[in-house]
C-alpha cells in the first residue's frame, strides 16, 4: 500500500486549517465589536470538519463527464475546501439598537477556546511528525 502523508496525518491537517479559519472569523468579530450593523459569524466546526474529512476519504468520487450526468455538483463546494456553507450567524443574547450582534465576552471566550484547540491540534501533528522522523532516521 502506498504511503500517503495525508492519510498519515489523519484528521489533524484539515482540523488545523479549519481552526485557523475560525481564528480569523473570531478576530473579525472582535475587530468589529463597535461597528453598527455588523453581524457576528462563527464556523460550525464539527460539520465543516466532518464534510472535509468525508470529502477527503472518498478519492474515487463520481465525475460528471457528459451533459446527461447528474448529482455530483453538491459535493464540489465541499471537496474544494470551501467552508461557506458552515458559516453561521450568531444569535445575540442581548440585541443592541445599532444592529451589532457582537458580544465581546462571548467572542473572547470562543477565541481562547479556539486557540487552545489549535494548540492541541498542533501538538498532535507535532507528535505525528516526530514519529515519522523516528521511522525515517531509525534512531
Amino acid at each position: 500500500m502506498p504511503f500517503s502523508i495525508d492519510s498519515y496525518l489523519g484528521v489533524h491537517a484539515a482540523a488545523l486549517k479549519l481552526r485557523e479559519q475560525r481564528t480569523e472569523l473570531l478576530a473579525r468579530n472582535l475587530a468589529n465589536a463597535d461597528t453598527p450593523g455588523f453581524k457576528a459569524q462563527d464556523l460550525d466546526f464539527g460539520a465543516a470538519l466532518a464534510a472535509q474529512t468525508s470529502a477527503a476519504a472518498q478519492p474515487g468520487t463520481l465525475k460528471a463527464t457528459q451533459a446527461g450526468h447528474i448529482g455530483v455538483q453538491a459535493d464540489a463546494a465541499l471537496s474544494s475546501g470551501s467552508t461557506e456553507a458552515f458559516l453561521k450567524y450568531r444569535t445575540p443574547l442581548a440585541p443592541s439598537l445599532d444592529g451589532n450582534t457582537v458580544d465581546p465576552q462571548l467572542e473572547q471566550a470562543a477565541f481562547a477556546d479556539n486557540a487552545v484547540r489549535y494548540q492541541a491540534t498542533l501538538s498532535f501533528l507535532s507528535t505525528k511528525f516526530r514519529s515519522l522522523m523516528t521511522a525515517i532516521t531509525g534512531q
Binding site: 481564528t23 478576530a27 465581546p104 477565541f111 498542533l122
Partner: protein, 141 residues
C-alpha cells in the same frame, strides 16, 4: 496567505479604536474652548465605523468578504452648543454670551473606556495569533 489575515483584521480594529481615542482626546481637550459665535463653537467629533468589504476576488476559502473595520468618516455632533452668560469674557458676543462646545464629558469618558477595552481585545487577538503562528512554524522540530 490567509494565516496573516488575522493581523490585518486585528490591526484595522486597533487603528479604528485609536481614531476613536483620538477624537475623545480632541473632544475632552476642547471641552471648555468657548467661542463668541454658535457657528464657530467647537463641535464634538465621533468616528463612524463600517465593516470593510474586501476587494473582488479576495473571498477565498469561502470566507465572508466582510473583513476588517474601516473608519468611514468622522461626524460632528449636531446638538446645540451651550450658551453661557459671561459678559466679562473677551470672546462674548454683543449680548454677553459665549458658546461652549456640545461636548458631554461623561459620554466621552465612557467612550474612552469602551475604546481602550476594544483596543486591548484586538491586541490580545494579535498576540494569541502570533503565538499560534510561531508554534505552527516550529511544527515538526
Amino acid at each position: 496567505m490567509s494565516s496573516f489575515k488575522v493581523f490585518d483584521i486585528a490591526g484595522s480594529g486597533m487603528a479604528a479604536q485609536s481614531v476613536r481615542l483620538n477624537t475623545v482626546a480632541s473632544n475632552l481637550a476642547n471641552a471648555e474652548s468657548v467661542s463668541g459665535d454658535a457657528k464657530t463653537a467647537y463641535k464634538a467629533r465621533h468616528p463612524v465605523f463600517e465593516a470593510m468589504k474586501a476587494q473582488a476576488g479576495a473571498s477565498k476559502n469561502g470566507v465572508d468578504p466582510n473583513a476588517a473595520v474601516k473608519v468611514l468618516g468622522i461626524v460632528e455632533d449636531q446638538r446645540a452648543p451651550e450658551m453661557r452668560y459671561q459678559p466679562g469674557n473677551p470672546l462674548a458676543n454683543s449680548e454677553g454670551y459665549v458658546f461652549a462646545p456640545n461636548v458631554n464629558v461623561v459620554e466621552e469618558m465612557v467612550d474612552m473606556i469602551s475604546a481602550s477595552r476594544a483596543y486591548q481585545n484586538n491586541v490580545e487577538v494579535m498576540n494569541t495569533s502570533k503565538e499560534l503562528l510561531m508554534a505552527t512554524l516550529r511544527l515538526g522540530s
